[in-house]
């Protein structure tokens, strides 16, 4: 009878060495790294406020500024009646002295943002447009904060009205 061969007695070959080619992958990774390093721009807090200012200004509303009505009779009426007026007055140093939305006096830019957001909800998807009327001596930073508040509240269109023109159009 032949002796039975056991597994332990089988001669084991040398262990198979799996070679993974890392070098081409490293080459590619370095190329990608070089691309990102060369195109890298340091993060910044800079952002932008977009304004669409068509050359032909719409007629100024004669009444009921700041009032959004539900049933406008014509498209033009819709455009005009949805325009909210923001009035900013400056003191002698150019700082913001008074701010109002329509006929409503506001405490500051934060209150303006909140109120614009409420208007946005009331309009229920219809475009919300505002016109900013500010004293020319107002510091640009204050004006930019007002435009920024409009941007934050999701206003669709911001127009900068001429204070003299606005006085003619307003009652």
């Amino acid at each position: 009878m032949m002796p039975r061969r056991t597994g332990s007695s089988r001669r084991m070959g040398p262990p198979i060495e799996v070679q993974f080619p890392v070098t081409p992958m490293l080459d590619m990774a370095f190329q990608l790294l070089a691309f990102f390093v060369l195109t890298f721009q340091s993060p910044t807090a800079e952002t932008r406020l977009d304004l669409y200012l068509p050359a032909s200004p719409a007629a100024l509303p004669g009444s009921a500024e700041g009032q959004a009505t539900e049933t406008p009779t014509r498209r033009a009426d819709l455009d005009l009646e949805n325009d909210l007026w923001i009035r900013a007055e400056a003191d002698d140093l150019g700082d913001l002295k008074a701010l109002s939305l329509g006929d409503q006096k506001l405490n500051g830019v934060g209150a303006l943002t909140d109120r614009l957001k409420r208007y946005q909800r009331v309009l229920n998807g219809r475009p919300l447009r505002v016109r900013v009327v500010a004293d020319d001596r107002l510091r640009y930073e204050e004006a930019a904060r007002i435009v920024g508040a409009c941007s934050t509240a999701g206003v669709d269109s911001v127009r900068l009205a001429d204070p003299g023109q606005a006085r003619v159009g307003r009652p």
Binding site: L33, R48, A134, D135, D136, R139, Y140, E141
Partner: protein, 158 residues
């Protein structure tokens, strides 16, 4: 030198550095740069003389596009473009020249030159400039047919 000794010496001289940790680090760096690639990039025309206002602002939605015109306004309300300064009178002529160049280009492409200019005017105005100077500048550009503007600001609590 025996043959066996020579074989052993040759196998000892073949260095095989472990590249895996290096690859790990490089891939992590790539991930880092990929994640930062769109985290707010500076617009052109940056100048230390212009201190941008800090405002609360939503992230801009639209793309800037390729046709851009970058102008700066210093604290005295003077228009600065590519190292040149323009007062209000000369600024009007400069805007007219820019608009004409673009309208000629549009006409050459067969686009009606009377339509609104697609150029985006990027305005970097100093925070201490007066609102009136910025508004008049925008108005002058408007009169020449520019309709798309963007005000560069620093995002902050306001």
């Amino acid at each position: 030198m025996t043959r066996r000794y020579r074989e052993r010496a040759a196998s000892d001289s073949a260095l095989s550095p472990n590249l895996t940790p290096l690859l790990d680090v490089v891939l992590q760096l790539i991930t880092f740069f990929m994640m930062l690639i769109h985290f707010g990039s500076k617009l052109e025309g940056e100048s230390k003389s212009i201190r941008l206002p800090v405002t609360p602002a939503a992230l801009p939605g639209g793309d800037l596009g390729l046709d851009r015109l970058v102008v700066s306004v210093d604290s005295s309300g003077t228009l600065l473009v590519e190292g040149n300064t323009f007062d209000e009178a000369s600024a009007s002529a400069w805007w007219a020249k820019q608009a004409k160049t673009r309208k000629d280009g549009q006409a050459a492409l067969g686009v009606d030159p009377e339509t609104e200019l697609p150029t985006l005017v990027v305005v970097r105005a100093d925070k201490d400039a007066s609102y009136g100077s910025v508004r008049r500048l925008l108005g002058t550009a408007q009169d020449q047919g520019f309709v798309r503007f963007t005000l560069v600001v620093l995002r902050g609590p306001g």
